[in-house]
Amino acid sequence: MSTTTSLEQAHAGPAPAPVPGRRRRRTPWRGWVAAVVGAALVVAAWATVLSAEASPLPPLPEIAERAAGFAGDLLGVADPTPAYRDAGSWSRVGGLAVDTVVMSVLATGLAGLGALATVAGASRSLTVGEFGPGGPLGWAVHLLSRGLHTVTRSVPEVVWALLVVFTLQPGVLAGAVALALHEVGVLGRLGADVADSLDRGPLRALRATGAGRTALLLYGVLPQALPQLVTFLLYRWEVVLRASIVVGFITGAGLGFALRLDLAFRRWTDVALVLLTYVLLVWAVDLASSLLRRLAR
């Protein structure tokens, strides 16, 4: 009945299997130590955050007043011509939504290609393990690919966007490249984990028949790993779309750019329309991705 987000579980790793014939060691004090350390960290974090330089928090009644005013602005209570009664605004937002989807598809596609090209290098067993060339060459390829994935993954999309607009002209392509750069790291890491946990039987059989390394990759690894990779890719498409609004904010494309302009010009009902379109788009992509994932199964 439930639709477990297996991607989230993949990130978190599999649940540890109980070791047969061995009682689980019970270490209750470790749990308590972890809880106490965790609580202390949370308190310290709040103290640090609240001591940071910033404007003071407005008093509660003012917050309520501001929230109500903001909600009213978004709904266009005092606006004689709210954007959602205007066909022109809808067609503008529709065009931007298409741009945003194009940006996310392009980013996911580029990231998929990048991950496909580097995933074998990042896999342990295909470079320095059972099926790899081993030696200095194997290690060099392995560490380089792993390093590439860690670096690209560690830098958030928004920071990539800040760097990309220095070199590419602002627009959909710059946004797609920024999104793809982060996503290569995420997909590469997930893909390397998949490649390392493949069923080794077929690979060994192929090698026993005299298959070279390329044949092993093409006929042994790829058919086994590709469905799982495509599933991850489709999961990440939703994440990419979600992020494309903030990347577009910086690279000047799609719904994000419209949000930036509408916020700056205080066109509140346009802001509401952009946000509504954005949420609907995320839901639609969520649905499309789950339908496509069914095809991959």
Binding site: A10, W46, L190, R242
Partner: protein, 266 residues
């Protein structure tokens, strides 16, 4: 982090080739839809950026600034995660409907919570930050809540699914012994579902660190703000140091996660 859950694959050629066609088609159509403008001296800028990035500014004065920014970023991430847990745990109980006694009340709470959580989750952290900024002003709370709300909604979904995905047999045994839904949750579902929760929390903390790093989007401090300042000053060597710091933070959280999982679970 070892592996994804692998399902044995039985190919169905028809649906596979349809999927391939759809995916390739989508990417090609998007490529055609993009107007590629001529790069305007981007190559030179990229080269300058790259050469400076690999020669980071390691002067003690700047390193102190970086350390301060890194601490603030981690603090935002941890505070945000604490909010996420406060949102996520009750959300998980509601969205899984494990505490409901009647069929109708369960259906109503599950559907309603699902809709609310899906909306909270659909909005990106930084869009939340923009919205909260309008209401709370440039207060750290805007940043903390911006991370906590969407992360809490995601956590509610994942945790809720886990509560439902536990093996049936132990639950049936408890029910047969006359356990109430609360007792079922406390002695059956939580111990079974919570086995590897530490791993998930750390994975989300890693994401939260990245999210916290870019709270400069609305003007809050941390690594992102320093990166923006350094980029504005064209100090690419400082950008290099800051990116390195971010990399170290993410790797450190990842390593802690591995260590914690090894210690806590076995």
């Amino acid at each position: 982090m070892t592996s994804a859950v692998l399902v044995p694959v039985r190919p169905r050629p028809g649906s596979r080739s349809l999927l391939t066609a759809l995916l390739v088609g989508a990417v090609v159509v998007s490529l055609l839809a993009v107007e590629v403008e001529g790069a305007s001296g981007g190559g030179a800028a990229a080269r300058e950026l790259l050469t400076s990035l690999v020669q980071p500014d390691l002067s003690p004065g700047f390193l102190a600034t970086v350390a301060e920014a890194a601490v603030l970023t981690v603090a935002y991430a941890v505070a945000g995660m604490s909010v996420a847990v406060v949102v996520g745990v009750p959300g998980a109980l509601l969205v899984s409907g494990v505490l409901a006694r009647r069929r109708t009340s369960r259906a109503v709470t599950v559907v309603a919570t699902r809709g609310v959580l899906a909306t909270l989750r659909a909005v990106h952290e930084l869009v939340w930050a923009l919205l909260l900024l309008t209401v709370l002003g440039l207060h750290p709370l805007s940043g903390v809540l911006a991370i906590g709300i969407p992360y809490g909604a995601t956590m509610a979904r994942v945790l809720g699914d886990r509560l439902l995905d536990v093996p049936r047999a132990p639950l049936d045994a408890l029910t047969a012994a006359g356990a109430s839904p609360e007792q079922l949750l406390l002695y059956g579902r939580l111990p079974l579902a919570g086995a590897d929760l530490a791993g998930y929390l750390f994975y989300r903390l890693e994401c939260a660190v990245r999210a916290a790093a870019v709270l400069s989007f609305i003007g809050l401090g941390g690594i992102g703000l320093r990166i923006e300042v350094a980029l504005a000053d064209l100090r690419f060597d400082q950008v290099g140091t800051l990116l390195l710091a971010l990399l170290l933070l993410v790797v450190a959280v990842d390593a802690t996660a591995r260590a914690a999982r090894a210690r806590l679970v076995v």
